[in-house]
């Protein structure tokens, strides 16, 4: 069952990643792109977690935690950059 579900979910997630990707590309404003990138990071976490199930190994979870935490720090720094009037 899981062998069947995982690839489907994985494909959904990659499509989702593609959607965020498009938003990063089309913007239009800088915050839009940052939001999209943050979304992409979230999706990467989801993908990594799904891969954990698919491959049956839990070693990737720290990677998921890492990105969960660090994408936040990254987003904050970009947000602060925008707040300071940073241009694109």
């Amino acid at each position: 069952m899981i062998e069947f579900v995982c690839p489907i979910v994985m494909l959904m997630l990659i499509v989702a990643f593609g959607a965020s990707f498009v938003r990063v590309v089309i913007g239009p404003s800088l915050p839009d792109r940052v939001v999209a990138l943050d979304m992409a990071a979230t999706i990467v976490v989801a993908i990594i977690l799904t891969h954990c199930i698919q491959s049956g190994s839990s070693y990737y979870i720290p990677a998921a935690i890492s990105i969960a935490l660090l994408s936040f720090v990254g987003t904050v720094s970009l947000a602060l950059y925008i707040s300071k009037g940073g241009s694109s």
Binding site: S55, G56, S57, Y59, Y60
Partner: protein, 115 residues
């Protein structure tokens, strides 16, 4: 699969090289970034792709049951990633200082030392 990844690597190198030939310092940095991605992926691909598990021995086991991914390229890439991060960080500061000292970020204008 490898052919596909080779194309990705080629694209990354192409993009990196192209950006390094642009006139902005920042594009130079980004170019270096793409180049380093390309190099890492290259090591990964050339080292042989195994869709096996991670090279981590499970708790309580003494031997790998199935052949996992090749750990050596991974270690090499880790080192390379870190080095490229360090160098990128320094280059960034260098470019920042250059911009402040010279007053331009146009690489084409930075030619005083060559003449």
């Amino acid at each position: 699969m490898e052919v596909l990844l080779a194309i990705v690597i080629g694209t990354l190198y192409t993009g990196g090289l192209y950006l390094m030939m642009r006139r902005n310092l920042i594009q130079l940095i980004i170019g270096l970034g793409l180049l380093s991605h390309g190099a890492n992926l290259l090591i990964f691909t050339a080292g042989g792709l195994r869709q096996g598990g991670a090279p981590i021995l499970a708790e309580g086991e003494k031997m790998f049951a199935t052949v996992p991914a090749d750990p050596l390229p991974q270690a090499l890439i880790l080192t390379a990633i870190v080095i490229s991060f360090a160098v990128t960080a320094f280059a960034l500061v260098l470019f920042l200082r250059t911009y402040q000292a010279v007053g331009t970020d146009d690489v084409d204008e930075l030619k005083e030392t060559d003449t």
